[in-house]
Symmetry: C2
Subunit: 507 residues, 2 copies
């Protein structure tokens, strides 16, 4: 049947089309059924929505993504044909029965994910099947390879490629801004792709955006890296392992992260850029993704085995993740803290030790140094890392002369003070993230938190515990409200609950 | 924050709103996040979609379902507030870990399903968790009770209420059109709600619609039943156990039907109308939902146990489902076949025996008869059942004088003939359904199939095997095409595969 295109100026993730209810009934289609649309040599599979009024008979409503993909516009004529469900659905149902999938089956599922041929319900079914039944190492390897093969790949010839990755969950973890320039100073290549925060306060891409552009294609990432040795870009724009982004879209609402997906997601990105040596940072402890060192070790073992299968040398750094790294949380504040350390060679121990440690492991793995951490410290203290960071910023379209004094943080501020004297015995990762987000992070770059006291430090009554930064007054109010509801810090001897609570924080 | 309503004339299942991307970023919302909308005392939880162009800043796009639920129109002002995920999501994740749910947890999940507070991804996760881990009988009972409690209930005081249900999957199964008037003639009440076909060729509601209206509220269903003793209405319009319809929407694209849902779905409908005695028809055999008698018995045992817990007396009729019931498939053809049997007291054995058998069991259960089947036959042959059927048709707004001669079936017809002589040894349920659907069923009431030969019958070369009926020429062509691709019938000694195939059926 043929239909006239009606352009609907709405963005959607899935490809879907709106049919008039009488056309749909006529063709025996119900919402969710699949049709193939054809126009001038282009075709696409979309699912059906039905309306009695948006489109007339013989009209078909197309959303922005479908219009662009099919290269059609209002008034064009397209033909459609009912199609059966994709065969990858059979494999998803096989996994739902708890059976092991073959390499071909996994490849087909991933191809359909990338092509948006699976509906959200079906993709959810796949992700949940891997959560419930797990995947063995064969399946994880095949999943990783399929993710690599369905995206862009970069090959570097000039030098060894290394990379680092943190599995996340800990606020303030800005170490990439230190590790990347240190490593790039040594002649190794480190084309780092990072995420923007989805549930966190600041992803590495959000922080780097304070200094420079972060949206580049894979080709541009290659050019920048070959020019200055390193890059800090947003992975989402590179089309490297794009299946991963689509999988995350269904994991996010369920807040699930099956281990097999975590492994494949990280390693697909590293495999796609041809990394030879990779350090995986696994923060462990209360409020991070991994409970304790023992569980961290299991995960590390799987990363190493998967690396072996893919020909990538992996070392894992199991790190302390029971509290924020450094004292700054939020894009501009974290950028400030990292740059200040590059400028002065000094700063919070938790940040310094971790960044130097990870950079050191990479240098040792690549055979450059036997005492990597000391070498990393030398590079930073010599000013070479700062110089390299500025080169990277310039290569990504930022100001080469950037200094920590130039960074603008939120002007709306509120100091949270101690109402009792004692040692700080607990900092809650999740609550700090929530407060920073309420203050506007990561969207408002200047929003966030600066910790004046960390775990083990003593505080007197009336002294500042942390400062909330925001760009907008109403967001500051929200963040203060949130800090009252869920106090993120425990002082030894502190009264944990009062009614009515937190009167001391009246504005 | 406050927004101006922009009305979007699009129908959606889920409640969702479109925000301008800059407003969304401002509020830190990403697609899929939940917000609560408030307007003049009404409120609703909806998930976020984001657009750069459909809505301007401070505008919010609302779809038809949301406009209606909130009682707002273009230009109205509504306020919104970000909300956290529903707590039922925690229970869904608990089930995803394989743990047993409590009654309160299940109740909360069902309430959120009915309120559309769960996103499709989350509802899918729930359905799949029950598929993978199953539910024990406690959980099934709580699920059933929650489904009953979240919908309309009907209480009859005049007489005993009985009901029947077929778990489906077999084409031509029009027995309710016989059982309901027979039972209603005895003084028992039988307020039968049925489905429309989703994947089948004709649901009982589709067939009844050939004679009368089928869309009634629960209140109207009660009135009709109290007036004439029985009814044959579409369950979807009654708001009885509405959670079930929403669950089916995610089961359908995955073509899954977890046993716990099947049990709860059937029994919630029976519980909601206060049925005291219920017969469950479980067709077994190739191409039906249940493989064999043994598996049918397991399911029957569960139905009986669930009935005991709910205070409903259940008997199951395990019936032959390896081929179509009667000779007619499709709404008008099935209506014709059923009415003809009511008029003459005769017709295909498979239909006659099954309908009389099920009606008989109901009468025996209710204590009316000791030889129920013979009693049912007497009622039908006396003409009382025909008279009662006409009363029901009239009560549902149809013509009391309806006769089988008045029924209009499709005028486009095609006879499929045997190309060899032999006994018919197999009829394929699924293929017959597909052919009938290609011909236009259930939407085109006159479309369907009439079987001239059934299993065990002899056919000579050139004799008619079945006739395809359609209302439209192009659909007839599609159906013939489908019959060529997937021949639905095997004649002993027949060549099963030829290349090129089925030349004999050229139009």
């Amino acid at each position: 049947m043929e239909f006239k295109v009606k352009a609907l100026n709405i963005e959607k993730r899935e490809y879907s089309v709106i049919l008039n209810s009488s056309d749909a009934h006529e063709m025996g289609l119900i919402p969710g059924d699949r049709v193939k649309l054809f126009s001038k040599g282009n075709s696409i599979v979309a699912s059906i929505e039905i309306s009695q009024s948006v489109v007339s008979q013989n009209e078909m409503g197309l959303y922005i993504n479908t219009l662009e993909r099919l290269k059609v516009k209002e008034g064009d004529v397209i033909s459609i044909k009912a199609v059966s469900k994709p065969s990858s659905l059979h494999y998803i149902k096989k996994k739902l029965r708890g059976e092991k999938l073959s390499r071909d089956e996994i490849t087909e599922i991933v191809m359909d994910i990338v092509d948006d041929a699976l509906r959200e319900v079906e993709l959810t079914a796949f992700v949940i099947s891997t959560l419930v039944y797990g995947m063995d190492m064969d399946e994880v390897e095949w999943l990783t390879r399929a993710m690599i093969d369905t995206g862009e790949k970069i090959t570097f010839e000039k030098a060894k490629v290394v990379d680092k990755h943190s599995i996340g969950g800990v606020p303030g973890n800005k170490i990439s801004l230190l590790v990347v320039p240190i490593i790039a100073s040594t002649g190794l290549l480190i084309p780092k792709t990072s995420s923007r925060a989805i549930t966190g306060a600041a992803g590495t891409a959000d922080i780097m955006e304070v200094f420079a552009d972060v949206e580049f294609t894979a080709e541009e990432l290659k050019e920048i890296t070959e020019k200055v040795g390193g890059a800090l870009v947003w992975g989402g724009s590179t089309n490297i392992a794009p299946a991963d982004d689509k999988i995350i879209e269904v994991e996010y609402p369920l807040s699930i992260d099956p281990k097999s997906q975590l492994l494949a997601s990280v390693m697909a990105k590293k495999g796609s850029i041809g990394a030879e040596f990779v350090v995986i940072d696994i923060p462990v402890g209360e409020g991070s993704k991994v409970k304790d060192v023992k569980e961290g070790r299991y995960l590390a073992k799987d990363f190493v085995e998967l690396g072996n299968r893919l020909g990538i040398n992996i070392e894992c750094a199991i790190t302390y993740g029971g509290g924020p790294i450094g004292r700054a949380i939020g894009p501009a504040l974290e950028g400030w803290e990292a740059l200040k350390m590059l400028e002065t060679g000094e700063g919070p121990r938790s940040l310094y030790e971790k960044a130097m440690g990870v950079a050191g492991i990479l240098m040792e793995m690549a055979g450059l140094e036997t005492e990597g951490k000391q070498a990393a410290e030398r590079i930073m203290k010599s000013g070479k890392a700062l110089e390299k960071f500025r080169e990277i910023v310039e290569a990504q379209g930022g100001e080469r002369t950037i200094s920590s004094d130039d960074i603008v943080v939120g002007e709306k501020r509120y100091d949270v003070v101690a109402d009792t004297e004692g040692y700080v015995i607990h900092l809650d990762n999740k609550k700090f993230i929530e407060i920073a987000r309420a203050a506007g992070a990561p969207h408002d770059k200047g929003a966030g938190i600066y910790l004046h006291r960390k775990k083990g430090e003593i505080v007197k009554k009336g002294e500042k515990l942390f400062t909330i930064y925001a760009e907008k007054g109403w967001k500051l109010t929200n963040a203060i409200e949130k800090a009252r509801e869920e106090f993120p810090l425990i002082i030894e001897g502190m009264v944990l609950e009062r009614y009515p609570r937190y009167q001391q924080y009246q504005l």
